[in-house]
């Protein structure tokens, strides 16, 4: 690829915030699903927390996206083709796909949110009871899996969206989708850990920490892949002030990794690790979004 | 232009000197590119015409040229001189043409000479030449014999010149010319112009091929040549080269001035400048008591029995017809057709002298009509002080100008300026119909585009109304010599509101007996039975109607351009007599056959017994092979082109003189470095006294400056056009990279440029398009100053400085050409500093 002669789309803070939320929301749902499917009764609480996180965070996404539009009142043009008629759906346009994915994922996320509210005993209402028992059934498992796939997509596609352009950095690599997914999952794990700290489910915590460890390793591998694929535009992401963000990214990955291997330390630093992870998740997206447009 | 825009496509080689057509004439420039793109054109084997651009700056024109020649401002006399010398030394001139179509064989008086930079007859006290020695040896016997045979018509004098057809006599123009130019060796050219010898010889190599009959070259110039103290000689130099190469009168050839405003050609034809009357008739001079005196002293003498001397012979008819147009019935044979009504200026009354007089307190008021004196310069501060020295100033303009606002310009104290300024809103030309005459002499009638805006009135209505009121005052109060005012004809349907159509008819002229409009100036008479407001336009609006409105053009090229030479005879109307190429008789040989059959101008058709092609510059049915046929150049006294001429004040041959402000002494004759006859104004008082005191020297002002235009602006008026201001928003000076590096200046810095007269404070544009030259062994930098900004318009309004010190002409010297008095805008000295 080498040289680019483009204008940046000027995607700034709204988009950064959106990418972060999409990662957390999608990641949490996937996490919750895995806890439910692979884990045991003791993990149920953590699973509930994951779903309780996913939906509210997801709700923020369309708001951020709409605020970023030049014509917010036309956000619905993403779904309805006002000139050609019918719906707009462009499988090869991640933004079009993403719009639909957000909508549909919203349904899954909402249902699991409701069910979790009921199961957690926060709210007890006929309607909720019904949903709860539905998701408890076999159909529920399939429902969960499908939802998780959407979750994975929502967490990942933002990376592909950047790549499907002609901007420097973004379009020079194919690693962004995976990278955002991995960091999204690790971010989600961090959120659940933070939220479940009170509940003292030591075993689940250990499981989450272990999972996060793998996610971080995955993320580090993909960061290396990302940088490796940049070629000519590598300097753009590594130059000047951006280094500071990269330092935060490293702190958000290596430090937790180190702590994770020392459960002893981990107990003291129960707060530190997940916070660092979340900062890392944010910094990673920031450096990729901003440096390319600089 | 001797030729016209479209004709440039017919050429093999284009020399551009002192012009930047890609930027100043972008539409006309398409024809340069057409020539370049045409594989049938070009020197040697063809493959497209070549463009050689000689300019101190590498411009958007240079970018399109095949060869860019960096020349020092004001030195083209040496450049052309070198080429002339090369052509003469190597016998590359068009021999047959030079012998028969120029005055090369004429013998010059023995008194004529040139030593130490001065021609014979110089009077240092008055800085003038007595030109009596710059004359032909007259064969008095032959002259008398001729007069006996043909009684002299209309007061024109016969003075048959002696000739030597072999060109060997040392007193022939040819030998004198060879001797004069022998000094312009490639080495000398390089010392003066800064053009490397090897590059100059590459240019000469190409130009040298253009003397072949099957090749033709055009020279294109504009104010980069005229705006020098040697302006006229710069242009003559090119003309001499073209005569030697036999390129005058030929399609694809000629000496072509790209004119200025869309109608500046029309302005000149109608006597915008003080020393002429309409149609280039001379302004009467003091001492010319009778019409006969005037004609005999103004009309060219007949120097050869076969010279028609058309202008000279008919001078009286043209003058009388003009007087009839102006004074009608009051112009009678008994009062010499009111010849006395015409003023006889005693001394230089050129543009600059107006302000010189004002500074001397000799002027009460001034009308500025469509002209922004303050911006135009030269030496704007001097001009503004002159305006402040008036009782009243009337600015007739559609828009505010630096002249209408000078009294409240940034830094000025309105209370201290007593001049009463009247702003008269006129219509802009887009709010008028009327004619535009382009550089190619095409008079093209245009429609009114929009109706007059606001209170705007047409200029001619304002002037007509004003005249009516002045006349009324004379009727009431009388006054000294009221006759010229009382007698002036205003024969329009509404004398207060003449239409341009009526004026166009008046210009064309009438047969006063029948009242019909004339079809040709050949019909004009000196007995008072015809009128013509401008004889060269007679025929443009004949009885059949306004030919300037014709529009038969490219919609059907075959039908509308039958010869394929681009004449388009039914597109508008071209003076004289719809002729598209002047002197076109010279495009054919003695027998009337074109020098280059593939590019005919006119051709003698022996069968039809008439000339075919362009409108011939010759009697349409005169057989060139008859022993009594006229010589080719029918207008002048010689009947041939002038290589030697006494029609100019500063030398019969062009000579290189340094600009008034120059970094070097003249390498040819340091003793006479600058023009000995350039007019030096004596000015008023204080800082605006004698101009000689305002010239700077190279030790204080080491850099040459030249001023010029940019595509994006039209002088000062486009300061009112936001979209154009957007393209070139702020004033700047262009500085060569090397000089900028020395001064630590980078593009965008604010810089101050000073001359000995004033300063500009603008932004820097550092460029490699300007570079130093080696002049007489000395490294010299040139900086460029675009002219377009001032304290009026959107750029000034948008700037904190409000346009203070934005006038390029604050820098320029108040001195001009010895003949045309055109200011030396193009070469002066400055210093430059970072602010």
């Amino acid at each position: 690829m080498g040289e680019h002669f483009v204008t940046p789309p000027n995607w700034q803070w709204y988009i950064l915030a959106y990418f972060f939320c999409a990662g957390i929301s999608g990641g949490s749902f996937v996490l919750g699903t895995m806890l439910r499917l692979f884990g045991d009764a003791r993990d149920a609480a953590a699973a509930r927390i994951a779903f309780l996180i996913s939906f509210p965070v997801l709700l923020v996404c369309p708001i951020l996206l709409t605020l970023d539009l030049g014509q917010p009142s036309r956000f619905w043009h993403m779904l309805v083709d006002v000139s050609g008629g019918g719906l707009v759906f462009k499988a090869w346009s991640p933004m079009s796909l993403g719009a639909w994915a957000l909508l549909l994922f919203g349904i899954f996320s909402l249902v699991m949110f409701a069910a979790s509210l009921y199961e957690g005993g926060v709210v007890r209402h006929r309607a909720l009871q019904a949903t709860a028992s539905f998701v408890a059934a076999t159909a529920g498992r399939i429902f969960l899996i499908v939802g998780a796939v959407f979750g994975l997509f929502v967490a990942a596609y933002t990376g592909v969206l950047l790549a499907v352009s002609n901007q420097p950095v973004w379009s020079d690599t194919w690693a962004l989708g995976g990278l955002f997914l991995a960091s999204g999952l690790s971010g989600a794990a961090a959120c659940v850990l933070l939220a479940s700290r009170s509940r003292r489910a030591a075993m689940t915590d250990r499981k989450l920490i272990e999972a996060d460890r793998y996610f971080i390793l995955l993320e580090l591998a993909l960061i290396i892949l990302f940088l490796a694929t940049l070629g000519g535009t590598l300097s753009k992401v590594l130059s000047g002030g951006w280094i500071i963000l990269w330092v935060i990214v490293l702190l958000g990955t290596l430090v937790p990794l180190g702590l994770h291997w020392r459960p002893g330390l981990m107990r003291q630093a129960a707060l530190l690790a997940p916070v660092l992870v979340l900062l890392g998740v944010l910094a990673l997206r920031a450096v990729i979004i901003f440096s390319a447009q600089a | 232009m001797t030729n016209h825009w479209r004709d440039i496509k017919n050429t093999d080689l284009i020399l551009i000197n002192g012009a930047n057509p890609a930027e100043a004439h972008p539409v006309g420039f398409q024809w340069f590119l057409k020539a370049k793109l045409d594989p049938a054109r070009g020197p040697g084997s063809g493959g497209g015409a070549k463009i050689i651009h000689a300019d101190p700056r590498f411009t958007r024109t240079s970018a399109m040229a095949d060869m860019y020649v960096r020349i020092r401002p004001g030195t083209d006399v040496a450049y052309f001189g070198g080429l002339i010398n090369y052509v003469l030394q190597n016998n590359l001139f068009h021999d047959e043409y030079v012998r028969n179509y120029t005055n090369a064989s004429f013998l010059i008086k023995d008194g004529y000479g040139f030593t130490d930079g001065l021609f014979s007859g110089y009077d240092p006290k008055n800085r003038k030449y007595d030109v009596s020695t710059w004359a032909y040896q007259v064969d008095t016997a032959a002259s008398a014999a001729y007069d006996a045979a043909h009684p002299p018509a209309g007061g024109a004098v016969t003075a048959i010149a002696k000739r030597d057809a072999t060109l060997q006599d040392p007193r022939t123009v040819f030998q004198l010319m060879k001797q004069h130019y022998a000094r312009y060796t490639p080495e000398m050219v390089s010392r003066i112009t800064g053009i490397p010898q090897d590059q100059f010889l590459r240019v000469a190599g190409l130009v040298g091929q253009m003397g072949r009959p099957d090749k033709v070259m055009t020279i294109v110039y504009a104010v980069g040549l005229t705006q020098h103290t040697t302006g006229v000689q710069l242009i003559r130099s090119g003309a001499l080269l073209q005569l030697l190469l036999g390129n005058m009168g030929r399609p694809g050839g000629g000496m072509n001035a790209e004119r200025g405003h869309a109608n500046i050609q029309g302005n000149t034809d109608h006597a915008i400048s003080w020393e002429i009357l309409p149609g280039y008739l001379k302004i009467p001079a003091p001492g010319q008591k009778t019409l006969a005196d005037y004609v005999s002293q103004s009309a060219s003498k007949k120097n050869d029995p076969r010279s028609w001397n058309f202008f000279g012979t008919n001078y009286r008819k043209f003058m009388v017809s003009l007087l009839k147009a102006w004074y009608g019935k009051a112009a009678t044979a008994s009062n010499e057709f009111a010849f006395d009504f015409i003023p006889k200026p005693a001394k230089n009354s050129s543009w600059m002298s107006i302000y010189d007089q004002a500074l001397k307190g000799k002027m009460q008021g001034l009308f500025l009509n469509g002209m922004t004196a303050t911006s135009i310069g030269p030496d704007s501060n001097r001009v503004m002080d002159a305006l402040a020295n008036l009782k009243w100033l009337v600015v007739m303009d559609p828009l505010p100008t630096t002249s209408s606002e000078f009294w409240r310009r940034p830094g000025a104290d309105p209370k201290s300026i007593q001049t009463e300024v009247f702003m008269m809103p006129t219509t802009h030309w887009i709010e008028k119909d009327g004619s535009f005459v382009n550089s190619g002499r095409w008079s093209q009638w245009k429609d009114q585009v929009i109706p007059p805006q606001g209170n705007a009135r047409h200029d001619h209505w304002i002037l007509a109304d004003l005249f009516g009121r002045v006349k009324a005052l004379y009727t009431q109060q009388g006054g000294k010599f009221p006759d010229p005012i009382m007698a002036l004809t205003m024969g329009y349907a509404n004398p207060k509101q003449p239409t341009l159509d009526e004026i166009a008819q008046e210009v064309n002229g009438f047969d006063l007996k029948t009242g019909t409009r004339l079809a040709s100036f050949a019909l004009l008479k000196d007995d008072g039975t015809t009128s013509a407001g401008d004889w060269i336009y007679t025929g443009g609006y004949p009885a059949s109607g306004n030919l300037m409105k014709r529009r038969l053009g490219v919609q059907d090229v075959k039908a509308n351009d039958p010869t394929g030479m681009g004449f388009f005879p039914n597109w508008a109307w071209s003076w004289p007599l719809n002729r598209r190429v002047l002197y076109n008789r010279a495009s054919a040989d003695a027998t009337g056959q074109p020098w280059d059959p593939s590019r005919p101008g006119i051709k003698w058709d022996a069968v039809q017994k008439k000339w075919v092609g362009d409108v011939p510059d010759y009697p349409p049915t005169m057989d060139p092979n008859s022993a009594t046929s006229w010589l080719p150049f029918i207008m002048n006294g010689e009947g041939v082109g002038r290589l030697f001429s006494n029609g100019v004040n500063d030398g019969p041959f062009p000579e290189h003189y340094e600009p008034m402000e120059s970094p070097v002494q003249n390498p040819l004759h340091a003793g006479q470095s600058t023009s000995p006859v350039a007019f030096l104004y004596t000015g008023g008082t204080g800082s605006h006294g004698a101009v000689t005191g305002t010239f700077g020297t190279a030790d204080q002002y080491p850099y040459i400056a030249t001023t010029y235009r940019l595509t994006e602006h039209e002088h000062y008026v486009t300061q009112h056009v936001p979209l154009l201001a957007g393209l070139q928003p702020k004033p700047f000076v262009e500085i060569p990279e090397e000089l900028a590096a020395q001064k630590g200046i980078v593009s965008g810095d604010r810089v101050r440029v000073r001359s000995n007269r004033g300063k500009v404070e603008v932004l820097a544009l550092v460029t490699k398009r300007l570079a130093p030259s080696t002049i007489d062994g000395k490294k010299v930098f040139t900086v460029g100053v675009p002219i377009h900004w001032g304290f009026v318009g959107v750029s000034a309004e948008s700037d904190p400085s409000k346009g203070a010190n934005w006038l390029a002409n604050a820098l320029t010297p108040f001195v001009g050409d010895a003949n045309a008095f055109t200011p030396e805008f193009k070469a002066f000295l400055v210093n430059i500093e970072k602010m």
Binding site: D81, Y118 | Q728
Partner: protein, 270 residues
């Protein structure tokens, strides 16, 4: 179906007069540029929402003593790509292909997401803060619909901008390059014959495309190219993450057997 139109912009005939820029602004009522000096003859700077033609000035030194500077001017414009990156990504179908085979942004549909700006490989599209939409050259859609030449081509004094039937333009381009090469301009080349399935605004260049701010043949690629690899990596990551979950959350030795979540009654009870 109306004719397929095209531009051929010939840098060897461009004199940098900017008549095209002004004509475009006049016809399309585009806002003026700020009155700031940019330090060169180019005070327009770039193509954007307010500049749909932009004349680039490219200045380089040469070793030719008779032409020490190569100063080439190029009137840049939307390329109206046959395979248009902008049109590919636009999520609202605001960007459409017209009956003249040009690429047009419907201002009443665009919602200002700016994905097209990210996509255009030529940096053509600009975002208009006032309208909140993306804007670029319309190929004078309104003029074409009324059988008028585009304003820029009409104004060009040197026919550096040629307008006409696309096929004719392609042929003219080929011929022009031949002539130039026969006159010794070895670098003369057409840009836009093959890029993006053939551009509807082609250029005659005398140097490599990069010198004019145009991506080379090799790097003229569509955004869509990154879809498959992008999603694939994501999928692989997803699978690995799944495995990670499987390992991390696997049931450890202790009770209870099944992880069936306890019925609501047993858990939530007081």
């Amino acid at each position: 179906m109306a004719q397929t139109v095209g531009f051929l912009t010939d840098t060897t005939l461009c004199i940098g007069c900017k008549a095209c820029e002004v004509a475009c602004k006049e016809w399309n009522g585009l806002p003026n540029n700020p009155l700031d000096f940019k330090g060169s003859y180019d005070n327009t700077g770039q193509l954007d929402h307010a500049n749909w033609r932009h004349v680039r000035f490219l200045e380089t030194s040469t070793s030719n003593p008779d032409k020490p500077i190569a100063w080439s001017m190029m009137s840049d414009v939307c390329k109206h790509c046959a395979n248009a990156s902008c049109l590919e990504v636009c999520p609202t179908n605001a960007i459409v292909r017209t009956e003249f085979d040009t690429v047009f942004i419907q201002q009443d549909v665009c919602n200002g997401c700016r994905d097209c700006i990210a996509a255009c490989p030529y940096g053509v599209i600009g975002f208009n803060q006032q309208s909140g939409t993306a804007q670029k050259c319309t190929f004078c859609y309104d003029r074409l619909q009324n059988n008028l030449m585009p304003a820029c081509a009409t104004a060009c004094p040197t026919q550096s901008i040629k307008f006409g039937d696309l096929a004719t333009m392609r042929q003219a381009a080929a011929e022009r390059v031949q002539t130039l090469q026969s006159q010794g301009v070895s670098q003369a080349q057409v840009y836009g014959d093959t890029e993006y399935g053939g551009l509807h605004a082609m250029f005659i260049l005398t140097d490599k495309p990069e010198a004019y701010g145009l991506p080379s043949q090799a790097s003229a690629v569509l955004p869509g190219r990154n879809n498959i690899p992008g999603y694939l990596t994501a999928a692989v990551t997803a699978v690995l993450a799944g495995l990670a979950g499987l390992i991390a959350f696997r049931r450890r030795g202790e009770q209870p057997a099944a992880a069936t979540p306890p019925p609501a009654a047993t858990t939530g009870g007081r």
